[in-house]
Structure formats: structure tokens, C-alpha cells
């Protein structure tokens, strides 16, 4: 039996406390058979990167609604790279204007951005698609 599971770190970087999205997504991913490591609120970039390392996750999911995404996401991605974890998928959800999303994607700081109105299924499909059978974990 294949016991591999997609492991996702769901984290809220920065100071905003709006965790409705993060919790709903965590629950949906669990129901889709994934393992979610939840760090809770108010995490620093350093905490998130180190947690990603210790938990050996495949995906880092960041929920940001405070407008600080252009500061926080690149910082987290840089720390991941520093730790040799550049291959971890970075997915961002929240209030991210299109222009900013384009910039994060272009610079390679994020692999995918989801905004309010995107369905849970679209997130699940994206993650499953990213870890199809040829993906080595």
C-alpha cells in the first residue's frame, strides 16, 4: 500500500487574525486525504520556514489578508531556499490584488495564488495535480 500522503503546512504569517480561510482550507484538504500541519496564527517567516523543514512538508500554504503579502511571501521563500527547501510548493491564499499576484508568481516567490471566490476543489485539484504519480516525495 502506498502510504505517502501530501503534507501541507498551513500557516498564517504576520499579524492578522482572520483564520476563517485557513481553517476551512485545512479541513477541506484533510477531507481530501492530505496531512495538514497547522501552526496557528501570528507566525514569523522564520518560524514558518523552520516548521516546513522539521515537518518535511511538500507544500507551504500561506493565508494572508493584511496586505503584507509582498513583504512576507518573498521572505518566506528566501528562507526556504536558504534551507535547501526551494522545491517546496508555496501556495498563497487571501486578499491579493492581481498585480501583486503576478509579481509574486513572476519572481518565483509563489507557485500559485488563490483569492476569495476560488473553490476548495480548485485548491485540492491543483495540489493533487502537482503531486501526480511521477512526483518523488
Amino acid at each position: 500500500m502506498d502510504r505517502r500522503k501530501i503534507r501541507v503546512l498551513v500557516a498564517k504569517p504576520g499579524l492578522d487574525g482572520h483564520d476563517r480561510g485557513a481553517r476551512v482550507v485545512a479541513r477541506a484538504l484533510r477531507d481530501a486525504g492530505m496531512e495538514i500541519v497547522y501552526t496557528g496564527l501570528h507566525q514569523t517567516a522564520e518560524q514558518i520556514a523552520e516548521t516546513a523543514l522539521q515537518e518535511d512538508v511538500d507544500v507551504v500554504g500561506l493565508s494572508i489578508l493584511s496586505g503584507a503579502h509582498l513583504t512576507l511571501v518573498p521572505r518566506i521563500k528566501a528562507l526556504l531556499r536558504e534551507k535547501g527547501l526551494g522545491d517546496i510548493l508555496v501556495v498563497v491564499g487571501g486578499i491579493i490584488p492581481e498585480e501583486d499576484a503576478a509579481e509574486l508568481l513572476k519572481r518565483g516567490d509563489a507557485d500559485r495564488i488563490f483569492i476569495p471566490g476560488d473553490s476548495l476543489d480548485s485548491i485540492i485539484e491543483y495540489l493533487r495535480g502537482s503531486f501526480s504519480s511521477n512526483h518523488t516525495l
Binding site: G14, L15, D16, G17, H18, D19, R20, R23, V24, A26, R27, A28, R30, Y38, G40, L41, H42, T44, S66, G67, A68, L70, T71, L72, R75, I95, P97, E98, E99, I115, P116, G117, S119, L120, D121
Partner: protein, 558 residues
């Protein structure tokens, strides 16, 4: 009132007619298999006199301005004075926000409402490492009295009322406002306004807590006591359902949890030795207005009735002001969509109308772009204009509580009251609000509701126009407000300069005194006031209190 249903014969015949109508109607197909409100409450096809046959007019409704206030807290409601149009705003540094406030006042806004940035909300100064990237982002950065002075420059604090959305560090920010008034030469007794100061809903929903519940409750009762003696016109807490709803609750959960919080504050005040009729008149509420029009109207009407009844019967309040639930409303941010954002104007209009028909005392209408960023000046203006059109053109403000007596409205108001009472019973069983928070009761209820709601949208069962139906695939074409990244740097330098020029010895003495008081039991407000007067920063004061009080951690619930 002579209820026509008293007549058994008439009732029988109406029931028979209704049955006949239903039989005839039931052969017709309906466009959905079930009809539910946005909260999942089933909605009947038709409501008739039978649904409100037990309604006793004087007992359940009464007259506006009279117990149990179902029809409104003022006798003449909007025929006397319209609701306060209070648009929540703030961004960048104090200079930026001051400009926006002056603009809004010129446009006819009648009260101010300050949005603070996340570092301020969490009790960090702009130069703290945790603040980086967040200074001035979703509100204005206020580090010290110096920022407060700039924020209200040219605005006389006895001429406006100001609402401040601040909770964990509410006492500190409030003291800065008071100290600023002092500098403007205005007495505390002339000040009017509101601090949100509702820490319970932070643990339940909004998650911007700092200290653990017990010291937080102490800060709140200290504010009650200080206001009672010195700032009598100030609303000391705005008990908020808004964030509970935004976190994903149903309408009844919003209603029940908010009122349960309210009763918890009342009990805390009474237990702190205060007279209920001295502090209860200064409690105010803050509700959400979601998209389900009638359910929201019923929620407000039920809220007023429950509050009045409990305050009178359970807490022995006698002053009518203690029984009157006054509330602010904000349209639902969570009902807005990022796709085709112009549609948000219509959503907000419907929600604003519900708030007005529900008898709100003040209202914030969201701007169409708030789901993407802080509002631009243009979108903020449209939002304000929405209220002005409702107030001055639609005619809905011309008669009081116009929907009263509607079979549907009265029936649903009753139902919501009963369901809220059921929640109160469960909270009681868990040992009250604090222990219910401790065992994660509210958090779990809300998380479940949020998940159900999202699932309903994903499955298409609940339609959101332009999102999961009638989509155009158009990308976003509206202009967004940009926060200048310079703000952080500017604010940083300003704070550094302040720390160099102020009397640092006085700051450290007053912080030491504050800690001493925190360890003991005396009222903390005078000590905080002393500290802000010498320009101790918010971060310094909060850090001092954290040393004594500790910090709160959340519950792992999904």
C-alpha cells in the same frame, strides 16, 4: 390588541383554506429542492396569520422607544435623526488618515471611525520586527500620543464622535485619545465615541488577542469604572457580532454569541462591584449585515428584545438606557466577491437597507474594492452615497419599523429569539462564556458553519453571482489604493525621533508604576494615562503589561 385568531372558527377556516391552497400549489414545481436563508434556516413557501397567532403585540413588540424595544430604541427613530453614517477608515500614517477624515467630514459624513493597522491592533510599535511589512497596511499606524495628535489635527474632539476599532490594547489607545483631548483643551466629559474593546469576540472569532481572558476582563472593567466617573458619554465597549459573522457563523450564532458576550461583560461589571445602571447604558453593539435580507432584519429586532428582557429580568436593570440596545452595523465583508467587484455595490445596498429596516443607530457600508484592498477615495464615496440614497431618496426612513406585523418577519424574529435562548442554555451548561471559550465551543460552532457555507458555494447549491454562476471570466479592472511602502520607513523614523526627544526617564518611571499597579488590583487607567502623557509608546505599555499578564494562545480546532 384583538387577535383575530382568538376566534376558533375563523382560525379553523383559515387553516382549511391554507391547506387547500397548499395542495393546489404543491403540484407546481419549484426551482429548488429546498429554500434556505444564507444561514441554512428553512424558509416556508408562505407565512400567514397562523404563524403569528400567539403574538401578543404589547408584550412582544410594544412601541418604538418603549420596552421591549423590538420596534426600535428611539420613539421617533429616523423621523427625528437619521442613523450616523460612519465609514470606517484609516491607512498609512496619521497624516494620510487625517487627510481622509477631513475629506469624509466635508462629504457629509457625521462620525469618524478609525481603522488601525495590524501592529497597532496587536500592541506592537512600528519599529518592532513583527511589524515589518504591515505598518499602515490595513489601517493607520499609531505608536504614541504624537500620532494621535496628528490623526485629529484640525478636528475638534468635542464636535465629532469617534469610533475606534481596537481591542487588545483598547485601554492604551483610548488613553491616547483622552490625552489628546486634554491637549486640545477639551474636558473628558465632553467626549463622545466608542472603543470596540470587546475582547471576548477576539478569542471567539477575530483572533486579535494579546493577554489571557482574565487580565483582559480586568482591563475592561477598569475602563467601565473610569468612564463612569470621568468620561460619561463614552461607549466603553462595542460588543461585536460583526467578526463572529465574518468568521463564518450563522445569523443566529452571531446573535446568540454576541449577546452572550454582552451578558458576560454585564456580569463582570456587577462582580467588580459596579452598579449595573451606571455602566450598562454605555454598552453598545456592533452587528454584521449579511446578504439575506429578511433574516438580518429579524436578527436586529430579536437582539433588541432579548437584551431588554434579560437586562431587566436577570440583571435587575431599571434605567431604560440600560435596556436599550444601541448598535452600529457594517455590511458583510465576507459577502463580497473579488470577481466582478462592481457587483459588490448592489450587495452592499441590499445589506445597508436591511440594517436600516432593522433600526441601526449607525452604519458603515463597505466599498466595492474592500475585498481586494483598502478603498480608494472614489469607492469610499460610492459607499457613502449608497447610504445617502437610502436615507434621502428611498423613503424607507420615513415611517418607523415598517416591516413589523409581517407574518414572515414576526415569525422569524420569534424563532431567532428562541434559538438564541437555546444557545444561552448550552453556554450556561458549559459554565459560562469564558469556559465555553476555553473548551472551544464557539470556535467549533463557527468553524463548522463556515465549512458548511463554503461547501454550499463550491457545490453551487448557494449561488454567488459572477463567482459560481453568471461568470464572465473578466479580470479585475478597477483601480486599487496603493499603500506607499515609504510609510513604514517614515513611521519608523518618526518613532525613532520621538524616542530620542521625549523625557525617557519619565517614561521608564511611569512604566514601572504601571507594572506595580498591574500586579496589584487598582484601576489601571490612570496609570496608562500617565504613561501616554509622557509619550510612552503603545508597544512599551503593552510589553510592560505582558510581563505581568502573559499572552494568550489559541485552540487547535477545525
Amino acid at each position: 390588541m384583538n387577535n383575530p385568531m382568538d376566534d376558533k372558527k375563523k382560525r379553523g377556516s383559515l387553516a382549511a383554506r391554507l391547506k387547500k391552497w397548499q395542495d393546489k400549489k404543491n403540484v407546481l414545481t419549484e426551482r429548488k429542492s429546498s429554500f434556505e436563508t444564507v444561514s441554512g434556516r428553512p424558509v416556508q413557501d408562505l407565512y400567514t396569520l397562523i404563524d403569528i397567532e400567539n403574538l401578543e403585540y404589547e408584550k412582544e413588540l410594544g412601541f418604538p422607544g418603549e420596552y421591549p424595544y423590538t420596534r426600535g430604541v428611539q420613539a421617533n427613530m429616523y423621523r427625528g435623526r437619521l442613523w450616523t453614517m460612519r465609514q470606517f477608515s484609516g491607512y498609512g500614517d496619521a497624516f494620510d488618515s487625517n487627510r481622509r477624515y477631513r475629506y469624509l467630514l466635508e462629504q457629509g459624513q457625521t462620525g469618524l471611525s478609525v481603522a488601525f493597522d495590524m501592529p497597532t491592533i496587536m500592541g506592537f510599535d512600528s519599529d518592532h520586527e513583527r511589524a515589518s511589512g504591515e505598518v499602515g497596511r490595513c489601517g493607520v499606524a499609531v505608536d504614541s500620543l504624537a500620532d494621535m495628535e496628528v490623526l485629529f489635527d484640525g478636528i475638534s474632539l468635542d464636535k465629532v464622535t469617534t469610533s475606534m476599532t481596537i481591542n487588545g490594547p483598547a485601554a492604551v489607545i483610548w488613553c491616547m485619545y483622552l490625552a489628546n483631548a486634554e491637549k486640545q483643551g477639551i474636558g473628558f466629559e465632553q467626549l463622545g465615541g466608542t472603543i470596540q474593546n470587546d475582547i471576548l469576540k477576539e478569542y471567539i472569532a477575530q483572533k486579535s488577542w494579546i493577554f489571557p481572558p482574565e487580565p483582559s476582563m480586568r482591563l475592561i472593567t477598569d475602563i467601565f469604572a473610569f468612564a463612569e466617573d470621568h468620561v460619561p458619554r463614552w461607549n466603553t465597549v462595542s460588543i461585536s457580532g460583526y467578526h463572529i459573522r465574518e468568521a463564518g457563523s450563522t445569523a443566529v450564532q452571531e446573535l446568540a454569541f454576541t449577546l452572550a458576550d454582552g451578558f458576560a461583560y454585564v456580569e463582570a461589571g456587577i462582580n467588580a462591584g459596579l452598579n449595573v445602571d451606571r455602566f450598562a447604558p454605555r454598552l453598545s453593539f456592533f452587528f454584521n449585515s449579511h446578504i439575506d435580507f429578511f433574516e438580518e432584519i429579524c436578527k436586529y429586532r430579536a437582539a433588541r428584545r432579548i437584551w431588554a428582557r434579560r437586562m431587566k429580568e436577570q440583571y435587575g436593570a431599571r434605567d431604560p438606557h440600560s435596556l436599550k440596545m444601541r448598535f452600529h452595523t457594517q455590511t458583510a465583508g465576507c459577502s463580497l466577491a473579488a470577481r466582478e467587484p462592481e457587483n459588490n455595490i448592489m450587495r452592499t445596498t441590499i445589506e445597508a437597507l436591511a440594517a436600516v429596516l432593522g433600526g441601526t443607530q449607525s452604519l458603515h457600508t463597505n466599498s466595492m474594492d474592500e475585498v481586494l484592498a483598502l478603498p480608494t477615495e472614489k469607492s469610499a464615496k460610492i459607499a457613502l452615497r449608497t447610504q445617502q440614497v437610502i436615507a434621502h431618496e428611498s423613503g424607507v426612513a420615513d415611517t418607523i419599523d415598517p416591516l413589523a406585523g409581517s407574518y414572515f418577519i414576526e415569525r422569524m424574529t420569534d424563532q431567532m429569539e428562541a434559538e438564541a435562548e437555546e444557545y444561552f442554555r448550552r453556554i450556561e451548561e458549559l459554565g459560562g462564556v469564558l469556559s465555553a471559550i476555553d473548551c472551544g465551543f464557539f470556535q467549533q460552532e463557527i468553524a463548522d458553519a463556515a465549512y458548511r457555507y463554503q461547501k454550499a458555494i463550491d457545490s453551487g447549491e448557494r449561488i454567488v453571482v459572477g463567482v459560481n454562476r453568471f461568470t464572465s471570466g473578466e479580470s479585475l479592472q478597477i483601480e486599487l489604493l496603493k499603500i506607499d511602502p515609504e510609510v513604514e520607513e517614515k513611521q519608523f523614523r518618526r518613532l525613532q525621533k520621538l524616542k530620542e526627544t521625549r523625557d525617557n526617564e519619565a517614561v521608564s518611571t511611569r512604566l514601572t508604576e504601571l507594572k506595580k499597579t498591574a500586579r496589584g488590583g487598582d484601576n489601571l487607567i490612570p496609570k496608562i494615562l500617565d504613561a501616554v502623557r509622557v509619550y510612552a509608546t503603545e508597544g512599551e505599555i503593552v510589553a510592560a503589561l505582558k510581563e505581568i499578564f502573559g499572552v494568550y494562545r489559541e485552540k487547535p480546532l477545525f
